[in-house]
Symmetry: C2
Subunit: 413 residues, 2 copies
């Protein structure tokens, strides 16, 4: 092969294969990815209309229905990250002038509100302080006092605050008022109970890089017949062509498979494998695992003076938000955790910057070994700051929780 001299210079800049440094991912996502999922992505590609690929799409749909707890035929993986799922749900269901109630108690509720406004929807904000749930009674009030409401949109697992939002009562309220119920399950799907059908959720989306422990790049999404009817009866075209769910439905529908865009094939390989792992473990077992490690982590952190940020009784097991003790500085500690231990955790967003940490225990990241490793690293750093008198006290507090729960002392998971 011939190269021009300019190009030879460029080639010389190569530094060899990219080798990511070792990382323990305990932030708000991506979570750790199982080697089987990583390996799946290294499989050769299929054409996106190949019968074998279409069969894989069918399989993914079936497995997604299982984790969403739904029988909705329209249950797919959208070709974008979780934020694309949010945008798709809203821009397809909301038309200009539609009244939409949005629960806002963190970054992701605020983002929903911003998208509703970009759709020309009439936004009805129901707010709560960051760290607290949206009281179902507040949604009930808004539904009673507003005129006809097209939809209620709310975040199940607020990744910015660590709050788990109760959904079932809001689902019933939506049915009573004939409003669509749109739920953001980005940080809950596959990590804590979510009942799409049981809770009357009409549209629900998620991301792959949280409790499903798959790399980011797809947005699982499910719509029931009420949501689909709302889309089919739009009087204006959806403002997005790429995320137009009426067109995408024709691509995923068995028997139709109308070309819309080329699906991210390798990501779908990964998602299939991640969903297999979820089923092999079993949903209930997986939820219990998330709860167990969250409890141990919080016990360990409490021993060091960190306090849970989210409202008691509504704390996410998948994303543990804790307030830093006032004397501790956020940024230097997180930098040392990353540089010295390769441990990646999340800081606070917006008004919570510098005040809280967000420690993700999602999917593959939620293990005893990871909780104890993190607590040990943190204790080491705090000991150097003369913060903690006795290294091991956090790990001991966590271990006590594990013993109480009957977890084998030698269990890594």
């Amino acid at each position: 092969m011939h190269r021009t001299s300019g190009e030879q210079d460029r080639v010389a800049e190569r530094t060899g294969a990219f080798a990511p440094p070792p990382r323990l991912l305990l932030g708000p996502g991506p979570s750790m990815v199982h080697p089987r999922v990583l390996q799946a992505m290294a499989s050769p590609l299929l054409g996106h209309l190949d019968p074998e690929f279409l069969r894989l799409m069918d399989e993914i749909q079936q497995r997604l229905r299982h984790v969403f707890k739904t029988t909705n035929p329209f249950t797919i993986a959208l070709s974008g990250t979780g934020s694309a799922g949010m945008e798709a749900a809203l821009v397809n269901l909301i038309e200009p002038g539609d009244a939409v109630i949005v629960g806002i108690n963190g970054v992701f509720g605020s983002r929903m509100a911003a998208i509703v406004e970009r759709c020309g929807g009439t936004l009805i904000r129901v707010e709560a302080p960051w760290g607290r749930i949206i009281e179902p009674e507040a949604i009930a009030d808004a539904l009673r006092s507003a005129g006809p409401v097209k939809a209620v949109a709310i975040v199940h697992a607020e990744t910015s605050t660590g709050v788990e939002q109760p959904l079932a009562p809001i689902g019933s309220l939506c049915r009573d008022h004939d409003a669509l119920f749109i739920v953001d399950a980005v940080t809950s799907l596959g990590g804590l109970p979510l009942e799409v059908d049981g809770w009357h959720i009409d549209a629900c989306y998620s991301g792959t890089q949280k409790c499903l422990s798959c790399p980011p790049g797809l947005a699982p999404l499910t719509l029931n017949d009420r949501a689909l009817a709302a889309i089919r009866s739009r009087t204006t075209p959806c403002q997005s062509w790429y995320l137009d769910l009426a067109l995408i439905a024709d691509y995923w529908a068995e028997g139709k498979r109308a070309y819309h865009h080329t699906a991210p094939i390798s990501m779908l390989y990964a998602l299939r494998e991640a969903l297999c792992l979820v089923e092999e473990e079993g949903l209930e077992t997986r939820f219990a695992r998330h709860r167990r490690h969250s409890a141990a982590l919080l016990a360990g952190l409490a021993a060091l003076g960190f306090t849970p940020f989210a409202q008691e009784g509504h704390r996410l097991p998948s994303l543990n938000a804790v307030a830093l003790p006032p004397a501790l500085e956020d940024a230097p500690l997180r930098t040392e955790l990353l540089r010295q231990f390769g441990i990646d955790i999340g800081g606070g967003l917006g008004p919570l910057q510098g005040k809280i940490w967000r420690i993700g225990l999602m999917g593959e990241s939620a293990t005893r070994a990871n909780v104890l490793t993190f607590l040990g690293a943190l204790e080491t750093l705090l000991f150097r700051r003369r913060w903690t008198g006795q290294p091991g006290q956090a790990a001991e507090a966590a271990s006590r929780v594990y013993r109480e729960q009957g977890l084998d002392e030698h269990s890594l998971v």
Copy 2:
């Protein structure tokens, strides 16, 4: 681990790891992917704000500038497939009421037109029969007769017809009329000459699964200062939040890195490796390789009675559209190619369904071994139909081209 009995039943349905059947991908994309690129995706993940990941983003930007032939600082990989690139370019640059000229001579020009209408733009269609280029003179006429035009949008490589559109004269026209020049380079980037800066292209997007030979899932995109100024001076918010390039610019900008959404990390690993391979080969060498194998393929197909569909002198080397001889049936032949040989080629879209084939020789797919393998398989099928008297004639015609070009008889690539 405990499982509920219902879940045990589900687990029993598992069929083991997904193993895609062997495929030679010679369709309109995805193209074959180099093992180094596949392996890159199997690397463990980094957090999307990890300093090492941000460094990787910088590297990808630099390598993308090289293939786009641009110095634009805003040169990124968007978190969606090529169609997301199209949508992003249009919804960010077009505001309601803006006059936009769109060249329409195939599926992808039609798609651009549809998106312009969803943005509320005033669409000015400049059409040509499918298979022919949009004459620059027709764009000149439209620019002269319309009032002020915000943008001219056109497809460089029409994947539905195999036409290569001349761009340089249109770029000059756009500057003369102070219109933005938006180019779809999905099936050209990395496979044939494209000069973003040299041809006065203001916004250009592509996909990864074509001539870059990377799996689908990202849309390389570049904007110059004129395009960015148009975005920064919008009077209405961009209708897409997910694809809002003003927000995305703040995520990719060195020093800012404002969180917008979680990037598809594994796909970026893949793109980095694919771009390394492009640089190692050298762009000119790569373009020549695409031309060489296209010429050989067309010679072989001519020997069997297939004729090029696209206008002479404007045929894409990366996507070879050929008209089927009238007596041959499209669907059964393509099915046999896939089932008996594992060879995936594309059929015609829309009005061309059943009439043409679209044979992609993009990136890793563009090799002598693949051309000869495809021709051999096709000859076998045609021989069974008593179509061809003498198996080997197509391969011989292709080999003649290789000999004329001085390619080693034993070269696989």
